[in-house]
């Protein structure tokens, strides 16, 4: 038998179809007789909706039907949010607005027509009468006593509050040698999956079956939700998530469009299709981040951190999305990072504003935490004139594990120092520091930034996996996770190949169809491998158990006298008495074996006993052009620890994409709203995301600290890059700007912001001294 499949760099099996344009996306699904849906959306951030009239729209050629808020409310009450906390203010998010609109892009009417362009034209003919109201777009202003209220039924905009405390924070701050304080902004971001959202709903009246194709990350949850909302039994709803082009969290939610497409399909008996336009994607799909964070650190002279206070003001937008209320709780939970900080106070204010709802976006609460603590650690180092690597080393949690943190988490396993050391070594940290000094003398501003992040994943409660060996010995795997870029058609095949001793090519992985996969939770929160992979592994164990029974029958020896190696069951001490797995499988489907049912298949659930906590250290090297404020990322080293790695190639792929998104937040991305609540960055001409030319070649490596919390020993790698990258890059830029006396600039570190900070800094002299003969840069 060849080397184990787990741990080898196998190319993604899904790629040939995806990169040759032969994938099958929701856009590719057009059953005969399909009608197209388009929506009319609010141009106001906050307004009384006095009238919605679809008469003109209905007259438009090709239009078949239209719906407005009051009508839809009779059928479906509201868009679901599945999180409940004590004292959580939970306003209803109507499927189509009724009486009031609360953010730009909120849907107010829906029309369906025989052709997509006709539907879009008809939607523009929907007559609306708005009475604009003052909008509130700043979460700190929204918390003020006399602020405009987003939801008139509540006395204020504070949607939820929580306080987390551990140790004796006030004493820690009283006794501290230094206290460092900073206000930080984790700006609002647009998830921007390459494929926008889409849905096709088809109702077959004779059988009563509703089939829904959706760009979902979690088709089983969508199925249960749609069934409940529409009053259908779950076994009459089938959801299919075909190839899905990225999600980053934005395709977890159940959105109004899915509900509306189903209502129309049920009512009209014809398939109804909706494909999101990019502009709708900017306004109507959930956003990410958007926190104002206040951090205070108490430290000793030697850099040991003794206390931490964090106040998080999380702008949640106008309504709750599927998981929204829970997102910022991870920020509090991980605020102490991978550091042993005994005294902690975390306050969380979740606040309604007249903006698009915020929900899970790659990292979902953890990048915010990493940004807060990793910036704070650097500020402590700056204050005490210590090396930021040293301050990290002094404060790392050293164990023993499981380790209970002040934020209320139980860390499974970790070796934070090893990851830091490896990253520093790969980056040539000491050499870089002396190089930096030399360059500064020549008027060049290089900066080196670290981030030793902690991540939280493997959200439960469970995942399902099933494994079937057919009569020819080929294997089919079903998983309740629903990949949209994660590559488990490859990685799950690797897990199974090792367990059943077959080639990876002989294992087919199926997912994303609730009629094929009996149960599932879905793909988000970097849970796929840790939870979904473990379920598949458990199913393999059950299949093997059964195979042993059959082999024992075929070879006429007790099971404990059998070995299973290289795809063959053999008798110990008599290796020529053997049967292959294929033979065993053939037997399983032909003649019954005493004590074993027919067939060779099993399904298993893996219940996640607790979360797992990946970690790592990222090192970014930047150079700042002090004349233009432009930041160039020149080097990037990432050392991540996600426990056992199933496929280093795909894991690196996740790290690469993650870093790109993290760099995006640090340097370029920002969803900007004006005072009146208009999304100013509403197209890709205004919302900047990194392109290949903005990024250096990433240097990635892993340390391996397995988790004891699942049988694979695997953690999660989907979001780690994003979590690690943002603070590493910002720390690097601040390090580059240290000679100017600049301590902090809020993200994104756009050229103008950097330039202004340099202008304003009292110590701008180094720049002036360079004079006009400044070294030129290429265009």
């Amino acid at each position: 038998m060849a080397a184990p499949a787990v741990g080898s760099r196998i190319k993604r099996r899904e790629d040939p179809r995806l990169i040759t344009g032969t994938g099958n996306y929701v856009e590719d699904v057009t059953p005969a007789g399909t009608l197209y849906m388009a929506l009319a959306r609010s141009p106001h951030a906050h307004a009384r909706l006095r009238r919605v009239n679809v008469k003109d729209a209905l007259q438009h050629p090709g239009v078949v039907a239209a719906l407005t808020g009051p009508e839809v409310r009779q059928i479906v009450d509201s868009v679901p949010c599945v999180v409940d906390f004590p004292d959580l203010k939970k306003p209803k998010w109507p499927v189509l607005a009724v009486d009031r609109v609360r953010y730009v892009g909120e849907a107010v009417a829906a029309v369906v027509a025989t052709d997509r362009a006709m539907a879009v034209d008809a939607a523009s003919l929907v007559q609306t009468d708005y009475l604009p109201l003052t909008a509130v777009t700043d979460p700190e202003r929204a918390l003020r006593p006399r602020s405009t209220r987003v939801h008139a039924e509540f006395k204020d905009n504070q949607a939820w509050y929580s306080l987390t405390e551990a140790g004796d924070v006030d004493s820690a701050f009283r006794e501290a040698h230094v206290v460092v304080k900073q206000r930080l902004v984790n700006q609002r971001l647009i998830p921007l999956a390459m494929e926008t959202r889409g849905v096709v709903a088809q109702y077959h009246a004779a059988s009563g079956l509703l089939t829904v194709w959706s760009t979902s990350q979690n088709p089983h949850q969508l199925k249960s939700q749609l069934a409940a909302l529409l009053g259908l039994p779950e076994n009459q709803v089938r959801v299919i998530a075909p190839d899905v082009g990225g999600g980053f969290g934005s395709k977890i939610d159940v959105y109004c469009e899915e509900i509306l497409a189903c209502i129309f399909a049920l009512r009209l008996g014809r398939p109804v299709k909706w494909i999101e336009e990019r502009r709708e994607n900017f306004q109507g799909t959930i956003h990410g981040r958007d926190q104002v964070d206040y951090v205070e650190v108490a430290a000793q002279r030697d850099g040991v951190i003794t206390g931490l206070k964090v106040k998080v003001i999380a702008d949640v937008g106008a309504y709750w999305g599927f998981f929204s209320p829970a997102i910022a709780t991870s920020t509090i939970g991980l605020a102490t990072g991978c550091y042993a900080i005994p005294n902690f106070r975390g306050e969380l204010y979740e606040v309604f504003t007249n903006k698009t709802p915020v929900d899970a976006y790659r990292g979902a609460g953890r990048p915010e935490a990493a940004y807060i603590i990793e910036r704070a650690v650097d500020l402590v180092a700056l204050e005490l004139a210590l090396d930021p690597a040293e301050v990290r080393r002094k404060n790392f949690i050293g164990g023993p594990f499981p380790y209970a943190t002040a934020g209320g988490m139980s860390f499974d396993s970790g070796n934070y120092r090893a990851a830091l050391d490896k990253a520093l070594q790969s980056a040539g940290y000491q050499r870089r520091r002396s190089e930096q000094k030399r360059l500064r003398q020549r008027g060049r501003y290089q900066g080196i930034g670290l981030s030793s992040y902690i991540e939280l994943c493997a959200i439960g409660p469970w995942e399902m996996g099933a494994v079937r060996v057919d009569a020819a010995g080929k294997v089919t795997v079903l998983t309740g996770t629903s990949p949209h870029g994660q590559g488990e058609e490859t990685t799950f095949a690797q897990i199974v190949a090792d367990q059943l001793q077959v080639a990876v090519e002989e294992v087919a992985v199926q997912h994303g169809d609730t009629a094929v996969v009996p149960a599932g939770i879905g793909t988000y929160g970097s849970r796929t491998t840790a939870v979904g992979g473990s379920a598949v592994l458990n199913a393999c164990l059950l299949v093997k158990e059964k195979a042993f029974k059959i082999a024992s029958h075929l070879l006429q020896v007790p099971e404990d006298r059998l070995t299973f190696a290289q795809g063959t069951f053999a008798v110990k001490d008599a290796p020529d008495r053997a049967v292959t797995l294929a033979k065993v499988a053939a037997q399983a489907y032909t003649g019954s074996v005493p004590g074993a049912e027919m067939g060779l298949e099993a399904s298993a659930y893996f219940e996640a006993p607790n979360l797992v906590f990946p970690f790592g250290t990222h090192v970014a090297v930047v150079e700042v052009d002090p004349e233009t404020g432009e930041v160039k990322l020149v080097r990037y080293v990432a050392v991540d620890d996600a426990g056992n790695i199933i496929n280093p190639l795909t894991a690196e792929g996740q790290v690469h994409g993650g870093i790109a998104q993290g760099v995006g937040q640090a340097l370029m991305e920002a969803a900007v709203y004006d005072e009146s609540g208009q999304l100013v960055t509403g197209t890709l001409m205004d919302y900047a995301i990194p392109a290949a030319e903005d990024l250096p070649l990433f240097e990635t490596a892993f340390t391996v600290t397995p988790t004891p919390r699942n049988p694979l020993g695997a953690k999660g790698i989907g979001e780690a890059g994003t979590i690690g990258a943002t603070p590493a890059v910002v720390n690097a830029v601040m390090d580059a700007l240290a000679p100017f006396g600049i301590r902090h600039i809020d993200m994104p570190l756009s050229p103008e912001r950097v330039w202004r900070a340099i202008q304003e800094s009292a110590k701008a002299r180094p720049a002036r001294r360079r004079g006009p003969s400044a070294r030129r840069r290429g265009s």
């Binding site: 502009r279 960055t681 890709l684 205004d686 900047a688 330039w755 265009s779």
Partner: protein, 290 residues
């Protein structure tokens, strides 16, 4: 994003295109579509009819004029062709250099020089180069008469040019740069759109004593339209291109901009600052190449 309904025609010759323009007042010419189609998809433009000129062969290509001395570029020439043209790289490299930093390869393969000039986006790159080169633009009206407009008189304001609605821009004439002349284009790109926040094109010729015998500076992005920085040019003319002289000249460049644009990507103050920095860099590089 779906545009409003429109009629579409694709004439094969310039004469047919002109006849269609005459017949349909609400019609718009379509070249590479990389400015017009996005506007239509956002429904910021809704022409009743598109006259697709992209198949008109006589409007494409780059050639040296018969007597030499100038290069004539067909309006339909895509940016990518300007970028890779050996003729331009040798004899008028500024245009190739500016074209090379437009958008990305897809944009450069579709977008045309004529479309870019006719559209007159304040952030477009080519206008700066054409101004610095003192290019001449040729337009043809529905009568078939040709009209020549110097680049300096072509750009009138935000998205407005000297072209009449019934005219087709047919070709652009640029000079062959003489020996002893250097040029450079400096661009500070908007990271979202990749258009220029500010772009500065410079042409510098040196006489035998090493003094500037010609200085031309074109600025785009900073204001509502691309402009020549006449005062900055005058400040360097007749002087040696030392760092100090270049800096002194560049300090006068922003005066040409007038009311600088201001948006979320760059305030007017930052744009004016960039104008000075990029002018300095472009002049230094052009002088070094002269």
């Amino acid at each position: 994003m779906i545009p409003a309904a429109f009629e579409y025609e694709a004439p094969a010759t310039l004469m047919e295109a002109l006849a269609l323009l005459r017949r349909h007042r609400g019609a718009k010419l379509l070249a590479g579509g990389h400015s017009l189609l996005p506007m239509m998809k956002l429904r910021l433009a809704a022409p009743e009819r598109l006259i697709d000129i992209s198949r008109i062969k006589e409007l494409a290509g780059i050639r040296e004029s018969r007597g030499g001395g100038t290069i004539v570029i067909g309006a339909l020439t895509p940016h990518g062709t300007l970028e890779s043209s050996a003729l331009l790289q040798e004899k008028c490299p500024l245009l190739a250099e500016a074209a090379a930093v437009i958008g990305d390869p897809q944009v450069r393969n579709r977008g045309t020089i004529g479309g870019s000039l006719a559209h007159a986006d304040p952030a477009a790159d080519l206008p700066a180069a054409l101004l610095a080169l003192d290019a001449t633009l040729t337009a043809m009206g529905t009568s078939g008469a040709r009209r020549q407009v110097p680049a300096r008189r072509f750009f009138r304001g935000l998205l407005t040019t000297a072209l009449r609605p019934t005219e087709v821009l047919t070709e652009i004439t640029v000079p062959v740069l003489k020996r002893g002349t250097g040029s450079a284009y400096e661009k500070f790109a908007n990271k979202a759109s990749r258009f220029a926040v500010v772009g500065v094109a410079a042409v510098v010729a040196l006489d035998r004593r090493g003094r500037c015998s010609q200085v031309a500076i074109g600025i785009t992005g900073a204001g509502p339209k691309a402009v020549r920085a006449v005062r900055a040019e005058a400040a360097l003319l007749g002087r040696e291109p030392t760092a100090a002289n270049i800096a002194a000249a560049a300090a006068r460049a922003s005066a040409a901009v007038g009311d600088a644009l201001s948006d979320i990507h760059a305030s007017s103050e930052f744009r004016l600052h960039l104008t000075e920095v990029l002018t300095r860099r472009a002049l230094a590089r052009a002088a070094a190449r002269a």
